[in-house]
Symmetry: C2
Subunit: 313 residues, 2 copies
């Protein structure tokens, strides 16, 4: 069983327009709504891949009810803590003329201290009750949470016997690693900006000095760089890169890393799965979706190579 924690879950709304004209009135042709937030997307991918998973975190208000209802409709199990103010929305305006998207991210509610306390206690209970092997912590922190929220959640999971994957950036990532999560998955930009380093090897070393263990760096069409804490760096990538919608590719990769961590798979297996699931997500129109057949096919097309510490073959 894998648990995903989404502290700033969202209701993702997609508006289709012919062409987004700034500073004017735009007619929306279709409206779609879907539960989102990084951890929710990770849970959704795991559920689609047939892996036992429960999404937790906090939601609130009518938007929180919509998030729950969408997960119910999609068959994704969830146990969110309630009591926060209305959950945030994101609005993605997809322009048919420009074939691209403009995203508006609401800041999200300020989470009250009692909700945070319930969330920590609820995670501890859920890990014990479900005998969860892995806890995934993904995404940004909402306002109102303590600055050490992620390290406290890592410690809570560890205290109850689960291992932890963290997908965060900036101060939240720097805080999370101090509690020694088994795996972190920044992308290249997040890795460098969280550390202030200009090369990948130095950034990995800097995060290791803070407490990081295995570091997995997603690298867009170049696949993924794996820095196992006790081994040689590896790069895994598709023989022929795919093009598509990168939204949600990182979440599918985190789902694959969580599966590998739970099963105790070798990094060559986990790396191939991470690249394959991420690439399969690129073929989907929305985050959190994956076609299991795509994932299986793509996994056979991943190549692994040893690399130096800077990620060069």
């Amino acid at each position: 069983m894998i648990l995903t924690v989404t502290l700033n879950a969202a209701l993702d709304t997609t508006y289709d327009v012919h062409e987004l004209v700034p500073h004017a009135s735009n007619r929306v042709t279709t409206v779609r709504q879907r539960a989102g937030g990084k951890g929710v997307n990770v849970a959704s991918v795991l559920a689609r891949m047939g892996h036992p998973v429960i999404a937790t975190g906090c939601v609130g208000g009518r938007t929180g009810a919509d998030i729950r209802a969408d997960l119910d409709a999609r068959g994704v199990a969830h146990r969110f803590v309630d009591g926060a103010p209305d959950s945030r929305r994101t609005v993605t305006v997809v322009s048919a003329a420009h074939r691209d998207a403009t995203v508006l991210n609401e800041p999200g509610p300020e989470v009250p201290a009692r909700v945070w306390a319930s969330l920590v206690a609820g995670l501890a209970e859920l890990v014990r009750e479900q005998r969860a092997g892995v806890v995934v912590l993904s995404g940004s922190l909402p306002r109102g949470l303590p600055a050490d929220a992620y390290s406290r959640l890592v410690a809570t999971a560890h205290a109850h016997g689960a291992r932890v994957v963290v997908d965060a950036e900036g101060a939240a990532l720097r805080d999370a690693v101090t509690a020694g999560p088994e795996v972190i998955k920044p992308n290249r930009y997040e890795l460098l900006s969280a550390t202030g380093c200009t090369d990948v090897a130095a950034a990995v070393t800097a995060l290791r000095a803070l407490g990081a263990r295995d570091v997995v760096v997603s690298d867009g069409a170049e696949g993924v760089l794996l820095f196992p804490s006790g081994g040689r760096p590896l790069r895994a990538r598709l023989r022929e890169p795919l093009s598509g919608n990168p939204t949600g590719a990182g979440d599918a990769m985190v789902a694959a890393l969580a599966v590998g961590l739970e099963a105790g798979d070798d990094w060559t297996v986990t790396g191939a799965r991470a690249v394959a699931w991420s690439a399969a997500a690129v073929g989907q129109p929305v985050a959190g979706e994956i076609d299991p057949d795509d994932a299986t096919c793509l996994q056979a097309r991943v190549q692994m190579e040893e690399t130096d510490d800077a990620g060069q073959a």
Copy 2:
């Protein structure tokens, strides 16, 4: 008592951003929500001016519940018919850098036939029960309604003793006038485009041929052109035009026209009130708001002049 009918009520969401960057991810700094739709704004203005009013129409789902809750919070009485799918939202992105707004209008739900039947029956009952003097029909028709929805609502109001103001455009306006509403208020663009005419006098004549009676044409900073069915055209305007946010100015004007129609005021009085309320709304940041003191002050600054049929002094 005035009743306003809003067939396509909305929850208006305003997002403040520093600068809207198309084709990128934008951080929203503040989120505001407010019940909207033209008839709802008319009711809101009347309530702020201390005039007895009830907002009706149809709303649905969680968004409909949010619309009702906002009207409750603002002290605007309402009696909406429920049972439609989730009401629409509009998103207005206000860019601090550009000092302007980008609007995204959801199409709204398709209204089921049984909801439409309840709405017509409910309007008849409400007119009788409240002894309503005036019914205001404002805004676009949602999908699923018959093409003659507005003329049927005009006839329903007339059958139960109320007079009618219509603020509509295009086919809905052409249909509405066939039932002989006492007042219609297109703006100049709507008047010309509904008739295919290139001058105001010809367009008024064309709508009269279909059944229109008094025609009031809002004309932006130029004030308003009044075409009473039995008298000379008049123009009413502020001596010194105001600048500000024109959103909602038309709705405030319709509120003033409804008050004049109910009281049986002379067109010089009603015209001055229409210009003053409209101008007072321009000073407000959101549609449906008005400061009664502004409205009173501005009314003394309206000048009336006779005009020829083309609206020239």
